[in-house]
């Protein structure tokens, strides 16, 4: 399954990856080969087979709504690249 340069760029944009030109070409080839291999599932007739999203059938796991200690502001910001004035600092949107 051959995917195009435009498809790679589209997916990279959705995934917020600023790929270099070299990467676009390399990943185009590799992703085409991988999709060719995994794409064989799409040819299976699985009419009526339900999908599995989780390997154990847990339903509605509930907990009491009780307040518990949480991270302090300092802890929450401890790893932030730009902890500006007690907030997560970012450049203009």
């Amino acid at each position: 399954m051959e995917i195009s340069r435009d498809q790679v760029l589209h997916v990279a944009k959705l995934a917020r990856l600023a790929l270099t030109d070299d990467e676009v070409e390399r990943f185009r080839g590799q992703l085409s080969a991988i999709l060719e291999a995994v794409g064989k599932v799409s040819k299976l007739d699985l009419e009526g087979v339900p999908p599995t999203s989780h390997p154990r059938d847990l339903v509605n796991v509930l907990a009491e709504d009780e307040p518990r200690p949480c991270l302090s502001r300092e802890e929450a910001l401890a790893n932030a690249p730009d902890p500006e004035g007690g907030f997560f600092g970012v450049p203009p949107v």
């Binding site: 995917i3 498809q7 790679v8 997916v11 990279a12 959705l14 995934a15 917020r16 990856l17 600023a18 790929l19 270099t20 990467e23 990943f27 590799q30 992703l31 080969a33 991988i34 999709l35 291999a37 995994v38 794409g39 064989k40 599932v41 799409s42 299976l44 699985l46 087979v49 339900p50 999908p51 599995t52 999203s53 989780h54 390997p55 154990r56 847990l58 796991v61 907990a63 991270l71 802890e75 929450a76 401890a78 790893n79 932030a80 690249p81 730009d82 997560f88 970012v90 450049p91 203009p92 949107v93």
Partner: protein, 471 residues
């Protein structure tokens, strides 16, 4: 008084005995492992960082996807360089609670994506049996550390084989527990419907004991369940009388199984029969044929979602940019290595409009098919048995440029992972001087049975877990 502490030979159980009898102090034990690391880790590169640890108990190493309060946790990625968790993962907390003393954090393929540790942003680990070869992956650092006597035991994490496969390639015992038995709270997430934490050790008894420490329901991880009391098998020999073992023929006859691996497995099967097991062929045709494609759609799809959090805002690396979108894109492209990028793009593609049904939707249905196929086999058998890895440890670099060849390393471990089943890998012999792993898989929550069978086989096999070149 000072006794010679041979970390290559000592099991965690023996370390515990030495400590309980006060023949050595916990500091002497800790220092002995640190000396072994000093002597051998320059070559092997199992550890990403060392810690002084706390506690008076048995030392332990943790894979670097396991969050540790106050100790940098990078998941083998540059994007998490300098990230120091402000809380402990549940498993790290449970280990500390039992007095286990942290030696350090072990190397892993970036975000646990890989089968060789060559995808680590910090360089590959090497196999203690032959340093020109990979230790497997993603948890190659933990497996190689245990094998080389740099830690008596360790924790790894397993999404499609990252505990079992490196354990096989390094001659260790490794358990991927039933999905839901071990908390993932505080673990760097890869694919959440598959990720499990589990033990790597030198013996089945050590493995069972460590599983008893980390398993159990955790209110902080809603996917965890109540776990039956863990039964550590009694020391000494045991039989397998009455145990029905199935041999999936598609796993035995799969292309790419090395003759030396097949031979070691066949010998172990004969041994199982001598121990009284009823061994018969069984069939998992669609699980083996469609397991890899199913996994390599579901895991990347979940990864593309989980790894969306690395945006340079709250923690980790931040790339330079004039506006927020540019910061996101630069952060991610500069911070992630090739394998996470490949999987993020693959997953994003499989989930995108127009492709969702044909790829991700179909993979979820295939997953149901694989679960059903295993359930049918377990109506007739207590356990199934196969090789863990089709090959012994392969040379560093051999598969590095061919993602599909690398993915094929997990052919035999993936089907049971997809089905949420527990699997134990034990060493069962050598091929070309390198360890071969035997994989035992049972129904959900059958860990005690896996330990009992694994222990009986281990005693009968008598594998010497110390790498020949280090004896």
């Amino acid at each position: 008084m000072s006794i010679d502490i041979d970390t290559l030979r000592l099991t965690a159980e023996q370390v515990n005995d030495l400590l309980e009898r006060r023949e050595v102090s916990s500091q002497e034990i800790f220092d002995a492992y640190r000396a072994a690391i000093e002597a051998r880790d320059g070559e092997l590169h199992c550890f990403l960082r060392l810690t002084d640890g706390e506690g008076e108990g048995i030392p332990i190493a943790l894979k670097d996807v396991i969050g540790t309060k106050g100790v940098e946790t990078t998941a083998g990625s540059k994007i998490l360089a300098g990230y120091v968790p402000v809380y402990d993962s549940t498993v790290a907390g449970r280990c500390k609670g039992r007095g286990l003393r942290l030696l350090g954090k072990t190397n892993t393929d970036e975000f646990a994506m890989g089968s060789s540790t060559e995808n680590s942003a910090y360089g590959p680990s090497r196999n203690p049996w032959d340093p020109t070869r990979v230790p497997g992956g993603s948890g190659g650092g933990s497996a190689a550390a245990v094998s080389a006597g740099l830690a008596p035991w360790a924790l790894g994490s397993d999404t499609g084989g990252s505990i079992k496969q490196p354990s096989a390639l390094c001659g260790n015992v490794g358990l991927r527990p039933t999905y839901g038995t071990v908390s993932r709270y505080g673990i760097v997430a890869f694919a959440s419907s598959l990720d499990q934490v589990g033990p790597v050790a030198k013996t089945v008894r050590d493995c069972a004991f460590l599983y008893s420490v980390i398993s159990g329901r955790d209110p902080a991880d809603s996917t965890t369940v109540d776990v039956p009391a863990v039964e550590v098998p009694a020391p000494g020999t045991a039989d397998l009388k009455g145990l029905r073992i199935g041999l999936p023929v598609e796993m035995r006859d799969a292309p790419g199984i090395e003759p030396g691996v097949a031979e070691a497995i066949a010998k172990t099967i004969a041994l199982a029969e001598e121990l009284g097991a009823e061994v018969e062929e069984c069939s998992l045709p669609r699980s083996v044929e469609y397991g890899l494609p199913c996994y390599y759609l579901i895991a990347p799809a979940e990864a593309s979602s989980n790894l969306a959090r690395y945006d340079g805002v709250r923690y980790g690396y931040r790339g330079a940019g004039d506006d927020l979108t540019e910061v996101y894109e630069r952060t991610r492209n500069e911070g992630f290595g090739d394998e996470p990028k490949r999987r993020i793009m693959l997953g994003t593609y499989a989930l995108s409009a127009g492709y969702y049904e044909a790829f991700y939707g179909k993979a979820q249905q295939v997953r149901t098919m694989i679960i059903r196929e295993h359930a049918e086999v377990f109506e007739r058998f207590d356990l199934i048995m196969s090789a863990t890895s089709p090959t012994v440890a392969f040379p560093i670099g051999e598969r590095a440029d061919d993602p599909l060849a690398m993915y094929a390393s997990d052919l035999l471990t993936i089907p049971s992972c997809v089905a949420g089943l527990p699997g134990l890998s034990i060493p069962c012999g050598l091929s070309e001087g390198l360890p071969v792993g035997l994989q035992l898989v049972g129904p959900q929550l059958s860990e005690n049975l896996l330990f009992r069978a694994g222990h009986a086989l281990e005693q009968a096999i008598g594998f010497d877990f110390v790498p020949e070149r280090l004896r």
